[in-house]
Each structure stands twice: as C-alpha cells, then as structure tokens.
Amino acid sequence: MAYSEKVIDHAENPRNVGTLDKSDPNVGTGLVGAPACGDVMRLQIKVSDGGVIEDAKFKTFGCGSAIASSSLATEWLKGKTLEEAEKIKNVDIVNELNLPPVKIHCSVLAQDAIKSAIDDFRAKQAARRSEKPEAQTK
C-alpha cells in the first residue's frame, strides 16, 4: 500500500516522542489499544493552571499510520484548551493524513487516546479537589 506524503513525514520524523511524568498532577495520560491488535498508543498532555495544554508527548507501538496519527495529535493538542482538544475528531486526522479506509482505526485510536488523556487529567484534578477540603477541615 502506498502511504501519503504526510504519513511518511510523520512516521520518519515523528513530533513530540517522549514521556511526561505521569505522577505530575498537571499531566494526563491516555494508554489505549492492545499489543495483540498491533496498536498501542500512549498520549500525555501537560495542562497549565489556566486549562491550556502546554505540552503533549506520545509513544506508539503500531504501523506508520498509527505513529503518524498520534504524532499529528500531539501537534494539534499543544496550545489548545481541554474543550478545544475534545473537539478533535478522528475524521480530522483521516483528512489531514489522507488515511485509506483500512487505516481509519488508527485515527480512531488517536481520538480515544486524546479523550483518555483528558479524562485522566480531569480525574486527577477532581481527586485533588476532593482531598483539599478534607485537609482544611482538620
């Protein structure tokens, strides 16, 4: 199968490969997919106190299209608010990378990874808020 130029570019020069400290309360981590299915994406976001994504990193086990989808997602996430980030849909990734039908699941996985990272961040924040009042009452 021939790859689009954008897929090749992202696969050969992936943006934002790396790891953020997952114990940092401002970091949300999404780990989606399964090794048996041939795709695992880990996408991490670091969110400022103002609710803006300051940094995004990924690591992906998967084909070139999976790598490109997650690489593109990290590029798009930076500078967005969580609400804006949630609006990134898999079809946007499909269109940007010209993914063929057989690779659409890669973009779905990237969308899942974004959602999962945001959910993780929000869960952490909620846990923190519920801890704080307790600390004050004592």
């Binding site: 992936p14 790891t19 041939g38 086990f61 299209s65 999976a66 899942d112």
Partner: protein, 408 residues
C-alpha cells in the same frame, strides 16, 4: 562499509527475478520459434513440442520423477494445488472422502480443502508444534478408512520450516493413501525426491526458482501407484487430459532451464545462502535483545529468516527500512487485519506475530547487502523501540501480559 545498490530485494519467498540464463533460453520462443506445441502437422509445432519435452525432462530430473510424462504443466502452483486436491477428491470419491492436511499450508491448499468440505468432504487440519513441524505420528493417527489424500507442504513460505516428508510418505504409502505436497518453496533449494519421499503429487512453480511467473507444474505419479485425476478445466485435452489449454511454451522453456540450473548449482547455492542467513541472524540477534526466531532453526530453508522484534510493529519496521524489500506477518500488511495464521499456529502470541519480519535471501543476495540490512534493521528497530510505550513498560519491569488492554 559501502552502501550496496538500493533498493535491496530480500523477499525471495514471494518471487524471484528471472535468471539471465533463463531469459536467454526463453527469448527465441517468443519470436522465431513461436509454434503451438499441440500442432502435430508442421515444423513450428514440432520445434515447440521438442522444447517443451526438454523442459519436462529437466523438471522431472530435478524432483526425481521416473518419467517426464509425470509432469503436467499448469499456470502456477495455485492451479497445481487446486488440480491435485480437487482432482483427486473427485476421482476417488467412491473410495473415500477424507483429506488430511496441516493448518500452516498455503491458502491454495487450505481453500481448496474448504471448498471440498462444502461439497461433503471431511478434512482434518493437523496442528504444528512450536517449531512449525507436523508430527508424522499425527498423520498416522488421523487416518481413517475414508482417507484418500494427505497434503503436507515441503517447506513453509513464511517461516521456511521443512516438513518431515520422508516419514509421512512412509505412512501414506503403507496405508495406500495418496500423498500430495506443495513443494513450491523447497524445490531447487533443499533435498526433494518424489521417489525417496513416496510423494504421489507435487505442486511446483517456476517463479520461485528464478524462472518466469505464470507457469507451474503438477507432478502426477504414473506407476506404483498410478494416480488419477479429474481435470478441473475442460478443453482440448492437453497434458494427457489433465489440463486443457495451449502450453505457454516460452515460459515452460524458462521453467526447464531454471530446473537445469537448480539441479547443477543447488548444493553450492544452499551452502552460500545458509552462511549468509546465519550471518544476518547472528548480527541482528547479537546486537539486540528480545528478538525471536519463528520456526525451527534446524529444519529450515537456507534462505529463510523469520524474526519477531518484540515491541516493534512489523509494518512500521518495513516502512522504516523502506529501501529493503521484506515481508511481515503483521495484520497491518494484510487486508484482513488478522496477523499471520502461520505464526498463530506455532503458538506465537498475536503481539509477536505483529512484530514479525520475514527476510528471504536468494541467488543474487550478497554479503554486502546482508551487512547493510543487519545494520539498518538494528538501527531502525532500536529507534522504533525508543518510541514504543511497550518497550518503556517492559524496561520498567511491567509484565505486559498483566495489563488490562482495551482490545479494539
């Protein structure tokens, strides 16, 4: 190290280039010697028929057939497999309806068997051991009064595993059951002798042995026992009624020449390829951990290397080494999105099946190419591991099997 000419072809199980000597032999049969081998009444036809007979003899010799009359030309091994299995099942249907084969056969064998199942045949699909081999005892145990045919390949196209045909042939012969083998990957590369192995039908093809695409043959034993088939194509009754259709004379001439060369050069070529294959394997495995060989090392085609690079997905790997043509058992390389059924049959986990790369070395592979590929593969696999969350988790000591993954 100098860079060899790119791209490098290391996918000799998929096909092979036509040997220049083969092409040279073929060329006159496209132009001045263009006759139809079935034309009995003029010299154009006789010239073509003579050339076909020479090819038949060379192919018969290569596989140890006792007569060139046992070679039936087809369009390729898929047709040969179909003709052998369906042709036998149809002819011997009054004798029985049971076929024994293995789960790692080529699709031409498996799908022929599946079609016969729909038509009332019973098929036993034997499993293979972790080393990719069929246990001859399992063939024995699977036999029933109704068994008419056993079909086990000579060597597997993905993992290069060589099957114990000699042992299986003893069993089928003792039981009076016909024995077919898809010998495509092994002929001209390893020992193959239809007499020694008691093979009754064998599928072969030219393009895996430096001949042209579009021509193959089915060996059909003519004595002890005489094998009968029902032809699967109706027409002029060519090939002793076994396969109608005008013979592809230039391709058959090339096939014959390829057989002649293989006969002469095989021992030397096999030794050279084994050395190169081991050089490639050692260079890769000594430079990286968690690289697994799929299939038996001992019973293996000399030019085959099938490795799983744990934590690296196969298609990404192929993309990263794009100047080297290899193949992968990864689902992403198939339309079905299912990983290789052959690797699954060995008990290789789906994760490692997705990480497999098949290197196929052949006649024109050089040491320089092997060294270049080894270095490139190690470099790119390391790079991909550095961006693999699985490798990071593995390094942190997390057991990946204990993680609750979200299958999709």
């Amino acid at each position: 190290m100098t860079t060899p000419k790119l791209p490098i072809f290391m996918d000799y199980h998929s096909t092979t280039p036509v040997d220049p000597r083969v092409l040279e032999a073929m060329l006159p049969y496209f132009t001045e010697k263009f006759g139809n081998a079935a034309s009995r009444s003029h010299s154009f036809g006789w010239t073509a028929e003579e050339a076909v007979d020479v090819a038949r003899e060379n192919i018969a010799k290569l596989i140890g057939a006792s007569s060139e009359k046992e070679i039936v030309f087809t369009s390729g091994a898929s047709e040969s497999d179909n003709l052998a299995i369906k042709g036998v099942a149809e002819f011997y249907k009054d004798k029985g309806n049971h076929i024994i084969t293995s789960v790692i056969e080529h699709k031409a064998v498996l799908d022929s068997c599946k079609r016969l199942e729909k038509e009332g045949c019973e098929v036993t699909y034997l499993p293979v051991a972790k080393d990719g081999r069929v246990d001859p005892q399992a063939v024995q145990n699977a036999m029933t009064e109704k068994t008419i045919l056993v079909s086990i390949m000579l060597a597997n196209n993905e993992i290069g595993t060589v099957q114990p045909l000699e042992e299986i042939g003893k069993i089928t012969r003792a039981r009076g059951v016909l024995f077919h083998t898809d010998a495509v990957q092994g002929v001209g590369k390893i020992d193959f002798d239809v007499q020694k192995m008691n093979v009754d039908l064998a599928s072969i093809t030219a393009h895996k042995m430096y001949g042209p695409k579009g021509v193959g043959a089915l060996y059909v034993r003519r004595s002890k026992p005489r094998v009968r088939l029902v032809a699967q194509m109706d027409g002029g009754g060519h090939e002793r009624g076994n396969r109608s259709g005008t013979l592809n004379v230039p391709a058959i001439v090339g096939f014959g020449k390829a057989a002649e060369i293989a006969m002469k050069e095989r021992p030397e070529e096999a030794a050279r390829l084994l050395k190169l294959r081991e050089r490639l394997r050692n260079k890769i495995q000594s430079s990286m951990d968690e690289v697994y060989l799929n299939g038996s090392l001992e019973h293996r085609l000399p030019g085959n290397l099938n490795l799983s690079f744990a934590f690296v997905e196969g298609e990404a790997m192929m993309m990263a080494i794009k100047d080297v043509a290899v193949s992968s058992g990864s689902a992403c390389t198939s339309a079905s999105l299912e990983p290789s059924y052959v690797l699954r049959a060995l008990g290789v986990g789906d994760d490692l099946a997705h990480s497999s790369i098949r290197f196929g070395l052949g006649r024109f592979t050089t040491e320089e190419e092997v060294d270049y590929v080894a270095k490139l593969v190690v470099e790119k696999a390391t790079h991909l591991r550095n961006m693999s969350p699985l490798y990071e988790m593995h390094k942190e000591g997390i057991d990946l099997k204990s993680v609750q993954w979200t299958a999709h």
